[in-house]
């Protein structure tokens, strides 16, 4: 079974803080993705990575950065958190060439005060 884990289920931070969200997958997947999910807007892609040290911007990268130093780990960084970044953050991974099915982690509910 594919397993994707995220470092926290719930996180509360203050405006201006630097926030790290961590994601780890155990299936040796090349691809990893970060989404945010907001009511009425669905899942929106922030960043994705095809390989170690590689990253590409998704649809809403502003205010975020990412890091992928190891194949199994993909981190999302909020350099200076703002209230409009309060959201559910979802990490996913996939193995290209085998249906590209993305498998999701449990999500991190981030609240920025």
């Amino acid at each position: 079974d594919v397993k994707v884990t995220q470092s926290s289920r719930y996180l509360v931070k203050r405006t201006g803080e630097k926030v790290f969200l961590e994601c780890v997958q155990d299936m040796d997947h090349e691809n990893m993705f970060w989404y945010r999910q907001d009511p009425g807007l669905g899942l929106r892609l922030i960043y994705f990575s095809y390989d170690v040290k590689m990253k590409e911007k998704g649809d809403i990268p502003e205010g975020y950065s990412v890091s992928r130093e190891k194949k199994e780990r993909f981190s999302l960084i909020l350099e200076s958190a703002s209230t409009n970044q309060t959201s559910m953050y979802l990490c996913a991974s996939s193995f290209p060439g085998r249906g590209d099915t993305q498998y999701f982690g449990p999500g991190t509910r981030l609240t920025v005060l």
């Binding site: 669905g42 892609l45 998704g58 999701f104 449990p106």
Partner: protein, 111 residues
């Protein structure tokens, strides 16, 4: 532009009352349509992948079908535990592994 539209936004069913959820898509050259189930406060759980018109897949009370413009998720004799939000997504037109998601259908099944 690639687009996915799901309808209805919300659906309330009595236990045992069969129905269908719709996913309409616009993409140049479909390379995969995905259905996920999402429970409140949790990550999406993969259900099905469909690749070509006419393809069908089944799992318990769920059956997914695909045409050239839309996909249906048929729920036969639903139970309260089928209550969840069902998400549809397609792979983008270009050589990319990105998925474009619809906003989902929130299903509630009452006993």
């Amino acid at each position: 532009e690639d687009q996915v539209t799901q309808s209805p936004e919300a659906l309330r069913l009595q236990e045992g009352e069969s129905s269908s959820l719709n996913c309409s898509y616009t993409v140049s050259g479909l390379r995969g349509l995905f259905w996920y189930r999402q429970d409140p406060g949790k990550g999406p759980e993969f259900l099905f992948t469909l690749y070509s018109a006419g393809e069908e897949k089944e799992k318990e009370r769920l059956k997914a079908t695909l045409t050239k413009k839309e996909s249906f998720l048929h729920i036969t004799a639903p139970k309260p535990e089928d209550s969840a939000t069902y998400l549809c997504a397609v792979r983008g037109s270009y050589n990319t592994d990105k998925l474009i998601f619809g906003t989902g259908t929130r299903l509630q099944v009452f006993p």
